[in-house]
Symmetry: C2
Subunit: 283 residues, 2 copies
């Protein structure tokens, strides 16, 4: 096989002017040349690349004053596979270099602040890969569908988000925003599995079906949110997710490319190597 | 081979009445029956067990109101392999279920508080595995060797630590405290490697040799600290660490046993499964 990707995910999955969610087939595998089995091999090989890049990012921050970092934002309907991305893509890198946070229904304290307050509190430190399992986007998704805020407030939030992310990007954060896109039918099958297997009961919540019954509203809210907030500094990527293997390999590639874009290298010694060798020898 | 461990690490490595650090040979492999190669196989098999146990711990907290968690405390002289434990032992479990924190030299803000303040801020949530890379023990180790606090304050801290950890244990945290124990000679070899390899420069700091030159003082401070704070609720384990493979497999076993001690099971459904199947079917 000449190459793994005929078109890079960073190109084919990006939300641009004129994009619409209905045009994305959740069962498709855009740009990937090969079978599921090959996909799994690519994922395995990619794990090493990712781990190596992450270590360089971390090293640069510790020894060379590099203040950059990476933030992966994961959004999706229930069962779309956010957890699998965390385990199988992010799980390949050193836990020391990962800051993972799952955003739940906001607490009283969080609600007493601006919606970005709790997000700012969880931003990754320098040299880290941050992973948001849900994010500030909940405030324009469930917030809109469930009418948790007036429409003009939702409108205002799109702008606040763009401004916030521009700030982040300007201060050295490479933001990779991913929506895992599954079909209505595939969600049904995955929820059915959770109801069939006692080792999966804990992942099921009756509220998941309430949300499912608002499917069209959510798709609409996603489409608008992504159109309004996909910028050059923080683009959205919509990853077809009916095939778990494809979603994993595509997200892995997006993160690898984000890290490659940083031109990372092992930081040079900021001490006199020969002098330290001598000191060590006589120690 | 009949069994992997002739004596469990939880037995053979535990700091008890009458224990002394000089009795632990850093190059030994207590209780392990087999070669390095076999050790690596055991580590690989253990990764799956650990991952399964962690998922049950997490699931129990999310769906069954289980408020327990686990805290792994790692202490060691430089180069002893804390990072390798995090990568190769902790790295096997879902990042979602891990709260890792590396404690550095205290900040101004941290110094303005009691020494346990910053520790309390990093305790793992329910259902999580917390990992401390260094910890409150720095305040009776470097604190003592570098005379950062008066001796009577150091004395008081041993008692404060025991009380603090008893509280934690009583509130449902299983604490596993590990000192990775390397020899003076092995540290020299590992520091030399960091000075030889440009991809390792970032891990080296000239201050590491200053600390090395206080080796005997540190060994003494460790011995006293471990003797004073190894309790039934939060015992210390001293893991010979000149052989990285042994240290990893031993710490993995300690964590697996800690999790097994919790008698974890998949939480039962807290909803009517048949009713939800019907709701899903018509959704």
């Amino acid at each position: 096989m000449a190459k793994t990707w005929s078109t890079e995910p960073a190109q084919s999955l990006r939300v641009r002017e004129g994009w619409s969610l209905a045009d994305v087939d959740p069962a498709s595998t855009p740009g990937f040349e090969g079978s599921k089995k090959y996909g799994q091999q690519v994922l395995e090989a990619g794990a090493e690349q990712l781990s190596d890049l992450q270590e360089k990012l971390f090293a640069s921050s510790r020894a060379a004053g590099d203040t950059r970092n990476v933030l992966l934002v994961l959004q999706a309907m229930d069962t779309a596979g956010k957890g699998g991305i965390v385990r199988h893509v992010v799980g390949a890198v050193d836990p020391q270099g990962v800051h993972h946070h799952a955003f739940k229904r906001p607490t009283e304290e969080e609600l007493a602040h601006d919606f970005l307050w709790r997000i700012r509190n969880q931003l990754p430190g320098v040299g880290m890969i941050g992973v948001f399992d849900r994010s500030h986007y909940e405030d324009v998704l469930v917030g809109k569908v469930r009418e948790l805020a007036p429409l003009d407030e939702i409108e205002k939030r799109y702008g606040d988000i763009v401004e916030f992310e521009n700030e982040l990007a300007a201060s050295g954060t490479t933001i990779v925003k991913v929506m895992l896109h599954i079909s209505f039918e595939e969600q049904k099958a995955r929820l059915a599995e959770r109801l069939d297997r006692p080792d999966k009961f804990w992942k099921f919540n009756p509220g998941d079906i309430d949300e499912r019954n608002l499917w069209a509203d959510y798709q609409n809210a996603y489409e608008i949110a992504l159109q309004r907030t996909s910028t050059d500094g923080a683009p959205w990527f919509v990853v077809p997710a009916d095939r778990k293997w494809y979603a994993r390999v595509a997200v892995q590639k997006l993160v690898i490319d984000a890290l490659r874009g940083l031109d990372l290298a092992w930081p040079p010694a900021d001490f006199d190597v020969d002098l330290q060798k001598t000191r060590l020898a006589v120690s």
